[in-house]
Point group: C2
Chain length 675, copies 2
């Protein structure tokens, strides 16, 4: 478009041509953006490595995401496979080691444009569940992509409840083989990524039958496609499950087994073994393995969930200072929409949430590392607590983040509805995390079970694990806040969250107990308390995150500007949480109605206080424009110019307009004589 | 798949093969499903017409939606144009009259598979804003699709705030033409449907300049493409804005005008006229026209928003009785997921919401018809109230419904993430309604402005319009509920909602007043109160809907079974609203903490009471399988069989696997010698 040059002839200090409405926001930062970036990266050296990786990837046209929003499911899939294999080679060439930071940053930058994510799980499951011989046989092949694997657990009719899986593996002592079958349609494997069009092998989870007796779920390596020509192996029906809300690049698949024979040595046998005569031998415990999975869950929160929320905040905040709408003051030019309180109220709490979960991840990583060390030494005491923490954390991280991304998207109005903004795909991808890796309601109820157990232990004077020690408290008093600024005292609000969690756990426990004592069957009582139990578990997890953010502030005592802004965000996260769940806090009378008004006022005041730092706070996430892939969220703030440039590239503007020729032209001709 | 026959050899009373888990749900209905369907349709005769229309459409392969979820943006667009033109012909052949019920039901059945929706708005704007001559010239052409129109109002940089539009129309007295220009990139028309690839003409809104003076926004008919070959008219740049979160069938477009000349008679001149010498003449008032738009808004709520929520409820409730997961009672078979309280809590309130808004639409329609009659007679007194009602209603209808659809989708777990479930597109389509037809936050603040004005009038003893008469109350007492069943008394909970709305309006008004009295500028005071003002407006609208549902129950005094189930839904809608916004209700002390526990218990009890009627309640919406287009929500409940059948049809299972040949085969060959 020659009519306007995207460049406005305005250059910022680094020589970039930046929209003045965005540039001015960067001049008033109250803290060092670079320092905050380093903190988020875990040190200046990491920032350096990350930027190096980003630069390498962005200078390589193979990793361009330019056409992503225009591609079909098929193109996305093919691109992801090609790119992943190319990346593997590149990583090898550059000498970036497995599990090193460079690789981690590659995935941060390219995440949803890569394939083989479940191939990784295939390998991890062999490493965790296989014997040394099995590892030696399969891992080198998988590492080089000489085979492609998948992890086939979920079935069409069975998700979270693993015991309900129906796929059968029957051992035949005469042939020394397992015979795998899908006995019913509901038993078909369904959803595994990389299964639909790629995998040659699968770790299949099936009920093990020995001499007619069921020994429960076991893992088997099953070849499902020919390495020669990729045709399904005998007895195998396999394919792609079709279009989804997102993840077009992933070939989620179905798998149906009819008398598929697998040699005896293909059962992953680290923890259990079948002898030639069909005898079953159990050995060791797979608890350490279980913990590995929990640790992975936390890592996913950081790399997938949190990163996505941070991207959405970056796009929405930058857009909100270049978008102008209506007059705030009559007669003035139209205002930046971020100057409206209603817009601040949408975006700034999401920003605070992103920071809160960042420090939450740090904390969880720490105690998981500790738990892992203990578990390795055979001490399993910490496991239930770690499981409860990880489950609750996963739930609130995914719920808050996906809701937050959608709030950011909607706050960009119509342009947030265009795929070119980058926002719709952030939501449609992220919201899947509320379902995968443990459905959120199921996970909350698992955390609740732990809390109820601990509450019972406390009643009889038993000691409690540290994260739930507060359940031993006898009673809490009233909140001592006298005026609104008292709610900027972390002791005050942390106590308030603690009180809320305690009260909700106690209420659920008492109701449960009362029902059981009055003769209701235990399972029935649990069911009719489950809404309250789930809410109690969420309140507990919310409290832990607030507490963790407050503790994290101590680390910055010598960096006053950084500490100041993080303290504001911590306050905002905490007060927004009270404001949004006020009923929970008022119900038991810990807060009074008057105090709830103070919370509201203090919360709203914070919006105006943080507003001037909003752009520096998202700049600190340090996403490159390539990372964001957003027409409206780029660093230079030229939202409208970019939307127009990108829209013109849409295939809908290039395709022959068959529709006109076929359907419209014959009609329009009738108007020619009349106009 | 020959392995299992989709038929289980089980037939219901009508001879259909139905999943027994779904069939059994239908045998225990506490009311006549057919009667409730008739009520929802507005009479048995309407039901009959609707079913006739559905049958006609479904017997015609042109209207098959079978491949919808597999199609590209281009295919969706082409299909929609073809189908719309075909439908027009069919409607003519069948003699279905304009604005008749048959046509309405066509759109209900085919809604998002049709094109030309903004072409309709193009016609309505000419009918509303044009002179008789203009109507006589353009409408016949548009009706026959001899021209295709669009309504070009929104600009790249301007949405809700119409006064900010930048497109210019300058009158040239020498040529007697208007010269239209897009002065800046932000002034480019952006978003209009049917503009991207279809329209030949547009009603363009532009600032009218006469002799250098701006007279504000006026509408002009502009030809934008050749009727011969569809190429852009001189000075016009036009195209498609590219992919969106949904609405692939619609060619939303951009339009850029450079010295585009339009004859003088193309300014729509019903309410203002330009004389040959450039004199400006205003005549009459366009208020009646404005009301027409408000009425359309209400109609859209019913046909688009509510229908979508009802579809999502139907799919999710049916799926929840055929999906079994985990043991509710140890040792029992896996339970239907709808038997879990946590699942009931997700789905049943959405069902209640659908019924609440159904009766809400009835009520609004009624008072709008009345307002329309008065306005036609030149009485405009009702307008501000009607606008406030419609705005608030639009906001809560779209917010509750889009949130509700997404809750339904997530409640279907992984399968809800598959496009084949039908749920993702219900959400991605519906959520757009929070932004279009007035952005929700902006609308809430308009309603708030009316409420604040009325609150002020009440203070000085002036009479108030009926829907806000409660703002004249001096003070409310405490809630009188003594036990949980008291909260099943509509008088009690309606009063509670009223009290909440009053208190929130009062709080915002007092804060606003205090700020202004202490010297804060009015616009600044408004801004720092805006979060609370928006919430107060939502609380007001919520109260109106509860009140309306309660009133609607009176109509069924002679049909006890129907009244009983509707009363349960009304109670559930009301109590779920209190439960979910408990802070608002507790804050001012109208409810006590103890009473809030009663609400919770009463709310949870209702879930179990309504549970047995859940399937009959969604059956009453009476969507055909073709309407729903869901693999997991069909009437026969064969969710897994249909998912599998549909998945096999995915193009990803038919395309040549180039990816294997090109990228994988060379790698896999290396494993051949090793396995």
């Amino acid at each position: 478009m020659a009519m306007w040059n995207a460049s406005k002839g305005f250059q910022n200090s680094t020589g970039q041509d930046v929209n003045p409405d965005l540039d001015s926001e960067r001049k008033t930062a109250s803290f060092s953006v670079e320092r905050l970036t380093n903190i988020l990266d875990g040190g200046a050296k990491n920032t350096q490595i990350r930027r190096k990786v980003d630069a390498v990837l962005q200078s390589d046209p193979e990793f361009s995401r330019e056409n992503k929003y225009f591609q079909s499911q098929n193109e996305r899939y093919e691109g992801a496979v090609r790119r992943s294999l190319y990346l593997s080679k590149k990583i090898e060439e550059l000498g970036w080691v497995t599990d090193g930071l460079e690789q981690k940053y590659c995935y941060r930058a390219l995440g949803d444009d890569l394939a083989f994510s479940v191939h990784q799980v295939f390998m991890k499951s062999i490493l965790g569940l296989g014997t040394d011989e099995q590892i030696a046989k399969w891992i080198p092949l998988a590492e080089k992509h000489y085979i492609a694997g998948t992890y086939a657990q979920t079935e069409l009719g069975h998700g979270t409840y693993l015991r309900g899986l129906e796929t059968m593996a029957t051992f035949d002592t005469t042939t020394q083989e397992f015979i795998l079958n899908t006995p019913k349609i509901s038993a078909m494997k369904w959803w595994p990524g990389d299964l639909g069009r790629t995998a040659t092998h699968a770790v299949v989870f099936a009920q093990l039958y020995l001499k007619g007796k069921c020994y429960g779920i076991h893992p088997f390596i099953v070849q499902i496609r020919s390495l020669h020509n990729h045709s399904p192996a005998p007895g195998v029906t396999v394919g792609d499950i079709g279009p989804k809300m997102d993840f077009a690049q992933t070939d989620n698949g179905f798998l149906l087994l009819k008398n598929v024979c697998v040699p005896k040595e293909n059962m992953l046998a680290r923890f259990s073994q079948v002898l030639p005569d069909g005898q079953y031998i159990k050995r060791g415990t797979d608890k350490i393995n279980y913990l590995t999975m929990v640790v992975i869950r936390v890592a996913i929160i950081r790399s997938e969930v949190l990163t996505t929320l941070m991207k959405a905040c970056t796009i929405a905040v930058r857009y909100a200072v270049v978008r102008r709408q209506s007059e705030l003051k009559p007669g003035d030019p139209e205002s930046k929409i971020l100057d409206y309180q209603t817009q601040q109220q949408k975006l700034l709490p999401q920003l605070a949430t992103a920071y809160a979960f960042h420090f939450g991840c740090d904390y969880l990583q720490e105690i998981f590392d500790q738990g892992y060390a203990e578990t390795k030494q055979g001490k399993f005491d910490l496991l239930p607590e770690l499981h409860a923490l990880a489950s609750g954390f996963k739930v609130i991280a995914t719920e808050f983040s996906s809701a937050g991304v959608e709030i950011c998207r909607k706050a960009c109005g119509g342009h947030g509805y265009s795929l070119l903004s980058g926002l719709p795909s952030l939501y449609t991808k992220l919201v899947a995390s509320c379902t995968y890796e443990g459905e959120n309601t199921v996970l909350l109820l698992q955390t609740a079970r732990f809390l109820i157990k601990c509450f019972g232990m406390a009643k009889v004077g038993q000691p409690l694990p540290s994260s739930v020690a507060y359940l031993s408290s006898t009673r809490f008093g009233k909140c001592g806040a006298q005026e609104k600024r008292d709610f900027l005292n972390p002791d005050i609000y942390t106590e308030t969250y603690k009180q809320r969690a305690f009260r909700m756990v106690e209420d659920a426990a008492v109701k449960l107990q009362t029902l059981i004592q009055s003769g209701t069957a235990q399972h029935e009582a649990w069911n009719v308390c489950s809404v309250q139990l789930a809410r109690a578990a969420a309140a507990h997890s919310h409290y832990i995150i607030v507490q963790t953010f407050v503790k994290a502030l101590e680390r910055f005592e010598k960096e006053l500007q950084i500490q100041r802004i993080l303290k504001h965000l911590c306050d905002l996260f905490a007060l927004h949480g009270i404001f949004s769940n006020m009923g929970d806090f008022l119900q038991a009378g810990h807060l009074s109605g008057k105090q709830s008004n103070m919370v509201t006022e203090s919360y709203l005041d914070l919006l105006a206080i943080i507003r001037p730092d909003a752009v520096p706070l998202v700049d600190a996430f340090d996403f490159s424009d390539g990372n964001l892939n957003s027409a409206i969220g780029s660093y230079d703030g030229h939202a409208y110019e970019r939307l127009f440039e990108w829209a013109k590239k849409s295939p809908t503007n290039k395709q022959d307009n068959q529709t006109f020729e076929k359907y419209l032209k014959p009609l329009f001709q009738n108007a020619l004589s009349k106009l």
